[in-house]
């Protein structure tokens, strides 16, 4: 069921996820479109999330934004970073001053993550929550999987030490799976929808920000799913739901994003993930399992949660016949 409306306030508003935003020219949503979007969200009972740009909005905008309960996403370079609920760091900056209560998204490519692991893991004790988004998951090689495994081990050791010391920082890659009892994916197109400055709806900002000529093989990547004027019109909506994702619905890598945009890009089907996405998510799942067991060695921890069971595969595709 639709629960969230993400409003991309400007073409240049930061990416907070896997997709790349290459737009450099400002294109602010019109005040009327913004108001209609908020009205839509209120009528449909949706939680609103604004993605703010890196410049000051005109005063009248700010008033409209504040007219409804919402959360704010802004990049670390935005004038709104200090009031944002989630701050996005595009790339690693070791000198950035984190807020101990802050929630951050760190968008890094695999190389940076692998090379800067020891610096990045220090952030865990400097903020409340860190979401690491690897921006080139689809390019992981077998060697990268191995490296990623050891990177996760390093993060685990740091987390274990912090938890034993009574701290409870969150790292999406490792602590989410420990806490979850069921799938907690991105669910773009089923739980959330994005409104863009052009007044149209998109499954997620990635489907709006794709360049006009971008085509991963089956036609344009930029595809809208209705507009404020004509209403929401998601074709084949079932394909965005977990029930219609043949691999994911049987999977227990609950923390996985199950990114429908990456799915579309890598397999051509929004409901079918790539091998790379699955293996990365399973390395995280297995590392979460080990972390949970390690923390429990020190005492009672999450007593209501069952152990995460041991599994023999990294890609659910490989065991599909066993279901």
């Amino acid at each position: 069921m639709l629960q969230y409306l993400i409003i991309q306030l400007d073409d240049t508003s930061t990416s907070y996820c896997h997709y790349y935003n290459g737009k450099r020219n400002r294109n602010l949503i019109s005040i009327d479109t913004l108001k209609s979007g908020i009205m839509f969200g209120m009528k449909e009972n949706l939680m609103i999330q604004y993605i703010l740009p890196d410049y000051e909005l005109p005063d009248e905008y700010y008033e409209v934004l504040e007219s409804i309960d919402h959360s704010k996403i802004a990049s670390s370079g935005s004038p709104y970073a200090s009031v944002a609920d989630v701050v996005v760091l595009n790339g690693w900056n070791k000198d950035y001053a984190f807020d101990i209560e802050g929630v951050y998204v760190l968008r890094v490519d695999k190389r940076t993550l692998f090379e800067k692991t020891s610096e990045i893991l220090k952030v865990l004790k400097e903020c409340a929550r860190l979401n690491i988004v690897i921006t080139d998951v689809e390019k992981f090689s077998d060697a990268d999987f191995e490296t990623y495994k050891s990177v996760l081990d390093s993060f685990s050791k740091e987390l274990e030490a912090l938890y034993v010391a009574g701290k409870t920082p969150q790292l999406n890659l490792l602590t989410d799976r420990m806490m979850l009892d069921g799938m907690n994916n991105c669910n773009a197109g089923s739980d959330s929808i994005t409104l863009a400055p052009d007044g149209r709806f998109y499954v997620c900002p990635a489907f709006y920000l794709a360049p006009d000529d971008e085509d991963y093989g089956l036609g344009k990547s930029k595809v809208s799913v209705g507009s404020l004027a004509s209403g929401l019109d998601i074709k084949n909506p079932q394909l965005y739901r977990l029930s219609h994702a043949p691999l994911c619905r049987n999977c227990d890598a609950y923390q996985c994003k199950r990114c429908v945009w990456l799915n579309r890009k890598t397999t051509y089907e929004v409901n079918t993930p790539s091998h790379e996405q699955c293996v990365v998510a399973h390395l995280e799942r297995n590392a979460s399992r080990a972390l949970l067991m390690d923390i429990r060695k020190h005492g009672t921890f999450l007593p209501e949660k069952e152990d995460i069971k041991e599994i023999s595969y990294l890609d659910p595709f490989d065991v599909r016949k066993e279901w």
């Binding site: 084949n236 394909l239 691999l247 397999t267 089907e269 409901n271």
Partner: protein, 422 residues
């Protein structure tokens, strides 16, 4: 055994369909311009080179981990494949040499498959090829039935048509006479051969006479399908049902069921299907491999551009980079329920109602293979009614003749309700 307890069933395919099918689209050209042909982008320019075919063969034989099946069907299609018989002969020679040289298990378990319009069947080049490879050949000639039925659709292509002009009906030249003269030769070489008949809206009134005509030519197995495309008009299902009932009467009253099979009649169709145990995909797209003149790989020929009306070609790799396994995943995990609308899932007569994965993709609202096209719904239901009539009448007849019902049905294989006929 008494003769009259036999009921001939359609062939389930070599090794019951367990072999890997690899299809070379050797040419997109054809002498005919059949009106129902789904190959919307046929042309004379795209011809596979031997070099491309060799690269494809090398890639396939070198990558046993992707092609694990015990057996293989090397299939050659077009357009009309026999327009490229010399190329095909060279490719087949290369395949045989390379399978042998690499000590590949397929060397002991392979077939070459052809589906031809039959026009060039008698030519010395084709005949030499047949003699050379006879032991490993499956070869079907497409003949649609009586002359008037066949010529209704299977007409010669003209220069004007290539330029986009449709001929007046009186100027159309049918191909029946050019095909039928080759049927005796074909049947003498392949006595168990089957023919494939495709039914579109205009063909419905000729179904009965066409199937009987094919039987009279000596063809014992008629694989007949209604097209999956959205071509059906109001009332077509009624005429279709009447035709099948009349055909059922002829087959049963004359005892043709003992020696002849028609795929329209099957004991396994028209039943509800379990959402768990009967959840397989209908067709083998993604488990097969098609290769075009440019060396692109497709999950099935229907995903190549020349087969598609409204969508972009959907490749799964090419001879240079190999198979992109991520592109194959959606086809492998695709099942019946995932792609079916609720109406099909709840349908009381669902079994035997099929789909073409490529047509699903072509007709879908988004670029997905996961949206089942249901244009044949009414036609399937009409088929089920006629099919029920057929079996009720046939069993009654056999009972009257003293054949126990159990004995009558034992000859009808029913391992699978998904008779793949695409």
């Amino acid at each position: 055994m008494e003769k009259n307890d036999e009921i001939k069933d359609v062939d389930r395919g070599w090794l019951n369909g367990a072999a890997k099918t690899i299809t070379f689209i050797v040419t997109k050209d054809c002498q005919l311009a059949c009106k129902y042909c789904y190959l919307v982008g046929k042309n004379e320019n795209e011809r596979m080179t031997l070099e491309t075919a060799k690269k494809a063969v090398d890639y396939i034989l070198d990558n046993r981990s992707f092609f694990k099946e015990e057996s293989v069907i090397w299939e050659f299609i077009g357009g009309e494949p026999f327009l490229e018989i010399e190329l095909i002969e060279n490719i087949c020679d290369y395949i045989k040499i390379e399978m042998f040289r690499r000590n590949h298990p397929w060397f002991n378990s392979y077939r070459f498959n052809f589906s031809t319009n039959g026009i060039n069947y008698h030519t010395s080049k084709v005949q030499n090829f047949i003699k050379k490879n006879w032991y490993h050949l499956s070869l079907g000639i497409t003949i649609d039935g009586t002359k008037r039925k066949h010529d209704l659709n299977r007409i010669w292509k003209t220069k004007e048509m290539e330029m986009g002009f449709q001929p007046k009906p009186e100027d159309e030249r049918g191909s029946y006479d050019d095909v039928v003269r080759n049927i005796p030769l074909w049947l003498s070489q392949f006595p168990k051969a089957a023919t494939k008949v495709t039914i579109s809206s205009a063909d419905i009134p000729y179904i009965k006479e066409s199937v009987l005509h094919l039987y009279s030519l000596g063809i014992h197995e008629v694989n007949i399908n209604v097209v999956y495309e959205k071509v059906w008009k109001e009332g077509d299902d009624v005429v279709f049902e009447n035709q099948l009932v009349q055909l059922a009467d002829e087959i049963i009253d004359n005892g043709y069921y003992q020696d002849f099979a028609c795929s329209f009649f099957s004991e396994t169709i028209g039943k509800p299907m379990d959402i768990h145990s009967d959840n397989r995909n209908w067709c083998g797209a993604g488990r097969m491999l098609s290769i075009d003149a440019h060396g692109n790989f497709y999950p099935c020929t229907r995903f190549a551009q020349y087969s598609l009306r409204s969508k972009k070609a959907r490749t799964i790799g090419n001879i240079g980079n190999g198979i992109d396994l991520n592109k194959v995943r959606p086809f492998i995990v695709l099942d019946r329920i995932l792609q079916s609308p609720q109406e099909c899932i709840d349908c009381e007569v669902a079994s035997g109602c099929g789909w073409c994965q490529g047509e699903n993709y072509d007709a879908a609202d988004t670029p997905t293979a996961y949206q089942r096209a249901t244009a044949i719904c009414k036609m399937h239901k009409a088929r089920v009614r006629a099919n029920n009539y057929y079996w009720n009448k046939l069993y009654r007849k056999l009972e009257h003749e003293g054949v126990a019902r159990e004995k009558a049905v034992k000859h009808v294989k029913s391992e699978s309700s998904n008779t793949i006929n695409c």
